[in-house]
Amino acid sequence: MKITDACVYPYPCGDSSVRRMALEAKSLGFDRLVTAGISSGEFYGIEVSNGILIRDTMVKDLISRVRQEKNSKAVISVQAGDNGFNRAVMGVKGVHILRGIQSADKAAFDHVAAKMAADNCVAVDIDLSPLISGRGIMRQRAIHRYRDILVLERRFEFPITLSSHARSILEMRAVREISGLCSLIDMDTPDVERAFIGVDTIITPPNPAVRVI
């Protein structure tokens, strides 16, 4: 089980190369990074996984895009939309993470979507950038939404991932700092540990105890 930052943006999206981000991640206590637009590899002992973010698409296009990337072993994320869209995303096989839930509609993620996420092993991402760089109402709204999601997570036990969405090494935070930031949204240490290995949970879902033949 590897401690993972579930989304960083190296150069050319950000100002730091993937190697430099891996070097920084190593000193900050991470084992793996999920990067946008960079092919998988290993740098300075840090596993770098390719991440694909799909946004602003219809469900039909989303399904065909996910089908295209089926054999790429990439971590596929989808930007959250309205409630209907999110429920549809939960049912698409191959989608790993639902992102941007803090900026979606208030009713975008309800108990039905939470149940579907748990059944289909789709993680909901906690983006820490509004907590780090946000101020005022933006941060308050994010804290409120994350607390609401965590209430559903405790009830339905769907996977959670933590991501810094760092575009620079200056936006990356240490594992201990992230634990501190997560305490703002009522996550205790076991919750944070579970969220850090959330990517492992979604990449290798547990085998069912009973198989229907």
């Binding site: 190369s17 907590l131 780090i132």
Partner: protein, 164 residues
Amino acid sequence: MGTRPPTLREKRRYILVSVEPSGTIIDRKDLYYAVCDATTSLWGDVTAAVIMPAVIASEGHYMIIRCRRGTERELSIALSTITCCRDNPIALRIVAASGTIETLREKIRILKTPDRELASSPECMFGEKLFQIDYCYGQKVDAIEKGFKNTNRLFLTKEDLEKL
């Protein structure tokens, strides 16, 4: 108000932080305003008054920040929300916490201060743009785009420059 005897004084804690990007020298007063702003924004005026943050010493790119004993956790969370100081993007990495300044000064002496290494070439090409190498230590290379305006800073490694 006179100095109180030691038993009546408030107990304090000192947090040692290093300022990233390496080699950045920041004025103590500017950092104090950034710390106060982050603390007040996150915890509010009442808790900020309890924490009583203050930047009390700086050695190179290390800074020692003081708080009231028992509020280290709140201060460290607030420190992780600092993203810039006087419009310069920075990050504060917490190195250690102690009850005395002297222990932290010893820690600074033990930690090797990354001095600037001489790069093999003062300039480099990356992404079809010309950059001037600003800081070089170990594998880390910080480069600033050459030009009069829109000069971006890039964080690279020596391996990145060798691959080109």
